[in-house]
Symmetry: C2
């Protein structure tokens, strides 16, 4: 892989970028590591100029530890590196995002991300979603479907929901998936308008995700396949494997 | 909506939570606002105890401005509030996530998020993906498909890609969507294994997203529908509209 030290043009561009950063009194910016497939915020640390240089050069998320006053690369002890594909700066240049792919759980506790503590809120806690992670919509839906599956396994379902019914009856599930794909196509063929298209796409996604859950396939694995097929960092990965 | 001042039990729980936070020397933690549907990191600021209390009480992302030494609610001047559904703390309790839904663009520049500056990197810049935002896989794919559509509109396509062909031939596109849905179902019906399931789901997603692009429907709109149908914050929204 290209490193900064042997790529003078890149070094110049990176130095230019670093000179525009608005460091705080300690010479740091906030550095947020985000999962390139799921969008999950993995962890947050701080970075100085050397940490950002090291991250771009090595492709491993590197931070500055305020308590130890030294650089540290996430994964240097656990081997759970965060492989950074891209770095972004915010509008006033005092905050950066490391967008990357973690080798394993990010948190030292073994949790996928460090943000596993949900603050109390005004929402009724007896609801179905008890996720302690900040799950975005698709992953919250995946979690809900997963919970339905656990209820079926437990035998704790008294009044089966639609998701329960689909999970128990694969013929029904598959006929729904084919039907919803057909309905999605008809929105184009019969020019049914954007609202119906979005709604039918939601139907396709939900029913397909039930099928994924039935087969224990994670959405994250599907996203990984899409990234490898289509995106720049996927192409890069393929060529680096040659 | 329930406010903290008239809900003593919630106030107690929130106070307990606040007492566990590891404030920095200035009494602050890093506060990251994240889009509940797309997972995009919208902005990053700092929060003191009052800012977190105000966020939980009002449901609007509130920060402490270090330059003005005062609380500010994102959107108080622009009306582009971030409607916070949930707050999460990290493992060592010095960083929080406001998970919410923005009313409009988050950045004062009018950009969707504040992170619109891509740092130089070792990846060949002549590639197709020139997104300046930290797009995660599905949104990077949406962007790639969108670029293909723009190329078709420009008439700048000399060697049409598969995506171009699907976009020009709606009969082909719809027959592929129906075929891929069928192939996804067969992975369950014929027990073809998890790898094939993930791969066929990727096919379904990609081809469906081409149809969305043809009809100018954004994935974000589909996710909003799913959230309103399935998740807790969707359920909450529905009941608050009664
Ligand atoms: Zn900033
Ligand atoms: Zn952690
Ligand atoms: Zn239907
Ligand atoms: Zn439908
Ligand atoms: Zn922390
Ligand atoms: Zn901004
Ligand atoms: Zn047409
Ligand atoms: Zn096929
Ligand atoms: Zn296929």
């Amino acid at each position: 892989t290209t490193t900064i030290t042997n790529d003078a043009a890149l070094k110049t561009k990176v130095d230019e970028m670093l000179s525009t950063i608005k460091w705080d009194k300690s010479g740091l910016v906030v550095a947020i590591a985000q999962h390139i497939d799921t969008g999950a915020v993995l962890m947050q640390g701080f970075a100085n100029s050397d940490a950002i240089l090291a991250t771009i050069a090595s492709g491993k998320a590197t931070f500055f530890s305020r308590s130890r006053s030294s650089l540290w690369t996430k994964g240097e002890t656990s081997s759970n590196f965060i492989n950074v594909k891209d770095v972004f700066l915010d509008c006033d240049r005092d905050s950066i995002i490391y967008l990357g792919l973690p080798d394993g759980p990010t948190c030292h506790t073994g949790a996928t991300t460090c943000y596993f503590t949900r603050a109390p809120n005004a929402i009724d806690d007896t609801q179905d979603t008890t996720a302690s992670f900040p799950l975005t919509t698709l992953f919250a839906l995946e979690e809900t479907i997963h919970n339905r599956k656990s209820q079926l396994m437990d035998g704790s379902v008294s009044k089966p929901s639609w998701t329960h019914k689909l999970m128990k009856d694969h013929e029904l599930l598959c006929s729904k998936i084919r039907e919803e794909a057909d309905e999605l196509c008809r929105t184009l063929e019969s020019n049914e308008g954007k609202d119906r298209t979005a709604s039918e796409m939601a139907d396709v996604l939900y029913h397909s995700m039930v099928l994924l859950a039935v087969q224990d396939v994670k959405l994250e694995d599907v996203l990984e396949i899409l990234r490898k097929r289509f995106t720049q960092s996927g192409i890069e990965e393929k060529s680096s494997r040659k």
